[in-house]
């Protein structure tokens, strides 16, 4: 448990290093963490344990935590000059592979239960006012440089899927669930802390604070309902509204 707490804090430190020291230094810290977490996950089982036994909770948490440095390494390594849909599609590919393998390896199932779809859809629509509120508070620059309908639709769809849905699969879908196995009370706070830390790259305390609040809200809802459908849609709408739609509407 102590080791996992240290890993969590080191991930936050690594995110800070990316911003305060530089991307290369941050990438090196994330790389060290990634290798350590994978080794922890693979070598954690006791020697007397039968090889077919399921991985113990600390190993599962280490595997889930490894997704965060992996996310950052991939986003830094695949940074492109074009912050349009191309950038999101390129970063989203490896991330999607990691999520699918992570969910399968860790036995995470039932993220989108059929029960309560209407309730989740309504919760997802909360992303519209939340995104508008975040835009009015943060006033970020627009991602879509060409305000033509196809360009705006493509960028919005890419941001919705990769910046919203995939991030929710990582943080609320896998990380929150796996952390809840070992720390039911602290899982929400830890997941929200790591989620907020992943926004340090924005170089804005206001952005980090807003997404820390959203992380707590999304985590509370996902934990309460057992589904991430609503929070995935809400996060996607917040992200697409914040950087694509609302800046064009108010320009």
């Amino acid at each position: 448990m102590l080791a996992l707490t240290v890993y969590g804090l080191l991930i936050v430190v690594a995110e800070a290093v990316v911003v305060l020291v530089g991307p290369l230094a941050g990438a090196l810290v994330h790389a060290g963490l990634l290798v350590a977490l994978v080794n922890h996950a693979v070598l954690a089982p006791e020697a007397s344990e039968p090889p077919t036994a399921p991985a113990p909770p600390p190993a599962r948490v280490a595997s889930a935590l490894a997704l965060v440095p992996l996310l950052r390494l991939v986003s830094l390594a695949l940074a492109t000059k074009d912050p349009g849909p191309y950038a999101y599609v390129v970063v989203g590919g490896p991330l999607l592979v990691a999520i699918v393998l992570g969910a399968r390896t860790l036995g995470v199932r039932g993220l989108f239960p059929r029960k309560g779809v209407a309730r989740e859809a309504l919760a997802g629509l909360a992303g519209l006012p939340l995104g508008l509120g975040a835009f009015l508070l943060l006033d970020p620059p627009a991602f879509a440089r060409d305000p033509s309908a196809p360009e705006v639709a493509a960028v919005a769809a890419a941001v919705f899927l990769v910046g919203g849905v995939l991030e929710e699969l990582v943080f609320r879908g896998i990380l929150l669930r796996i952390l809840s196995e070992i720390a039911p009370r602290g899982a929400l706070a830890w997941t929200s802390l790591l989620f907020a830390a992943s926004y340090l790259g924005s170089r804005s305390i206001a952005v980090v604070a807003v997404f820390a609040g959203l992380g707590l809200l999304f985590g509370w809802w996902a934990g309460r309902t057992g589904s991430i459908l609503g929070v995935a849609v809400a996060h996607g709408l917040v992200a697409a509204g914040l950087v694509v739609v609302w800046p064009l509407v108010f320009s």
């Binding site: 695949l78 590919g93 490896p94 926004y199």
Partner: protein, 82 residues
Amino acid sequence: MTSLVSETTLAVARAAAPDRLALGPAVVVIAVLAVLLVEREVLRAMHASRTAPRLRGFDLVIAPLLLAFGLITATRLVDLLP
């Protein structure tokens, strides 16, 4: 501005050039991939029966890094094209 595409990643992109590849985070990704691939094979050879189910922990990270490596190579090749 999301956690994946932020001011920091845009700054990295603006500073990127083929001749600076050796100092970039892309090389860190390739180094991590190499380390994990070697380590996985060493562990497999040393403790084949006991650790085999656990080696999937490596695959969880190696597979996306392999895809990232392919994309890094492809984008750099595109950069180098006249």
